[in-house]
Amino acid sequence: MKLFEFARERQWVPITGYLIYVSALTAGYYYNLTFVQLGLTDLGTQKIGMPPGDVSIVMAILALLTLVAAVASGVLMDRRGWSTDLYVKFRLLFLVIFVQLLLTIAAPHVSTIEQFVLWVIVCSMALGVGIPVSFSFMLDFVPVRDRGYVAAIVAGLSFFVAALYPIEWRIDEFSLVMSAMMVPAVFVLAVLSVKRFRFVDSLASQHKRDTFGTGRFCRPIPVRTVSFAFWGPILLMFGVFFIDSLGFLRIIETPQYIYTSWQSPDLSVRLFIAVLHVIGALAAGVIYTNFDRNWLFFWVFGLFAFTHLLYVFHIQFGAGDTPPLVLPMFYVLAVSFYTTLNFALWPDLSTPETIGTHTALGVGIAGWLATFLSTSLALYSEGVGLSLLNHLTYVNALALLFVVALPVLLYVHRMVELARGGTTP
């Protein structure tokens, strides 16, 4: 790892960059996992009493607005040169976190549908701007060599904490805790936004170094925005996020499976899941760093297909028993794998000139749009009374489709290259 090299040479500034990146992204992703994904559903269905179908529509709106805000801000960042200006990015992040702090404080007081819709619109704006800003930090702070491992640490840590806290979802209590945690971050970012520091100057120029700036898959030829090399991974990641959310929401709402999920009241089960998230993320980091990314995609789809097959099998033949932990084990591995991939992939498909647009499109379409569309679909399927067995059978079919589609897609892509006269693999 390059980090060890920095430590040996006592280069503390780049090491600070690692710490800033891990802290910012872990906190951000934790907030997303808990407050946005779980909190939004809870706020709509439990606190306001909206029917699941209506909440699904609001979530779809959130997804679309987040995507629009992300792409608009990402493109703007690239055009204005903000993607490579660390101070501007700190200012933007300050704004995002400040708005999120206000939203967090306001959440327990949301009591009408109008307020809820307004809350969602503002939330989507903050999320949208936050995507290209936070994901593009990798360019400034993490050298290409270490991106897989650092992404693994971020994914593992955020899932580890989210699996253990909150044990019981109460929006009032959680809002208070989250607000208290966000205030210091807002303060630090406010200082960094207005005052120049020598170590930040040094960090701000790191993207110009060969080891930092240009992503792994942009060497020697940068990946263009309109190319198969960019939209292929977006399609695959969209599939991954879609499959995950489509199955997850129905599984955690089924009493039989709550005991072996994130929502389990048994602390040992949650600890098991938390530790497995870390192990899975680290394994994904090793694979991402040392193999072609397609292997990681293949593993993810394979794991999801097998996981849903296990769930379907258990629903059919499990006689209503609490499922064995091997079921959530594979689920957790798959989720950790693709989350690690998500953090590292988009910056590695970018150059300093394209990182705003590419991270916005990648995370916006593959992550947010897919997650919220599938969550909406899951809520809809629940609303129309589709059984869990049928629902998971569809999810499993989708996962299997991607397992088959991935090698076919790669093969066809190679064929097209050869037909055009290309020879390099």
Partner: protein
């Protein structure tokens, strides 16, 4: 799930398959405490405590491969015990044959058992020589195969050994992921019965890959002897690795982790190098 259950589970599935039972009604209880009051088809008791309450009747056949099976009521069919614990209480009834192959059993004299057979094996406390014979034989076979392989196809072992030595973290990660995934897939396949042969074949191939990994690690260990007789060095190296695996096994938890780590690293290195047919090189990243 306790990994030691897997061979017994496969044997039981073979028995169910041979008996013509319907796999769709077969239930495998892996863990927890359960009271069974209603059941159709075959029941397999794994690492769980399963109780048939008094005045209740469940259909057989029942196979006990671990955990505990307590009968207060009635089992309408055969009960086969391969391992674990079987308790038949006062007033309990087994309408079929109780076949005891292994494990502990506690049968009340007040219980009604239609037919009872015991498959007797040799003493469960074998002498030290008998206990170590399989390990010694395995070590000898691996050492001989390793010696021959290193003399005739040294580059194969060289590639696998280099992957394990130069990239232990990658080999371990790949080995661990493959073993966890494929072990689960093969057990799952076994439940379909129709894929049971594939499952057994897969597990055998897995064992062969692990054996290959041990030979490659032995080859690496043998290189430390600095002798031109590569066959002899590999053979001795394999013996060293096998002894190391046995010795570390004595240390609780940590020993198992070390032994497991070694085996998985070997397995990963074999797969990464396509059984030694090519060198493993991670993707190139800017330094």
């Amino acid at each position: 799930m306790n990994l030691e259950l897997i061979p017994l589970l496969i044997i039981v599935l073979l028995m169910i398959s041979a008996g013509g039972a319907d796999v769709e009604t077969t239930e495998f209880v892996i863990e927890g405490d359960h009271e069974i009051t209603e059941h159709r088809g075959a029941l397999i008791v794994g690492d769980a405590t399963v109780t048939v309450p008094a005045d209740e009747a469940v259909s057989g056949p029942v196979y006990v491969i671990g955990g505990e099976f307590r009968i207060h009521g009635t089992v309408e069919g055969d009960v086969t015990q391969l391992s674990g614990s079987l308790v038949v209480e006062d007033g309990a009834t087994i309408d079929g044959e109780l076949q005891h192959i292994g494990g502990s059993e506690e049968l009340s004299t007040e219980a009604t058992i239609m037919e009872q057979t015991t498959v007797a094996f040799e003493s469960s406390e074998p002498s030290p020589i008998a206990a170590y014979t399989p390990i010694v034989l395995t070590t000898l076979i691996l050492a001989v195969v390793g010696a021959l392989l290193s003399r005739k196809h040294e580059p194969l072992l060289d590639n696998v050994g280099a992957a394990a030595k130069d990239h232990p973290l990658i080999s371990l990660t790949v080995g661990a992921l493959l073993s966890v995934t494929f072990l689960s897939v093969f057990v799952f396949m076994a439940f379909t019965l129709i894929l049971l042969p594939v499952s057994i074949l897969g597990l055998l191939v897995g064992l062969l890959i692990i054996a290959y990994g041990i030979i490659a690690l032995g080859y690496l260990a043998g290189q430390q002897l600095n002798t031109p007789r590569v066959g002899l060095a590999t053979g001795l190296g394999v013996v060293v690795v096998m002894v190391l695996l046995q010795v570390t096994g004595v240390i609780p938890i940590l020993g198992d982790l070390i032994a497991g780590g070694l085996l998985l690293t070997g397995l990963g290195a074999v797969v990464l190098t396509y059984f030694g047919l090519q060198e493993f090189e991670p993707v190139s990243l800017p330094e």
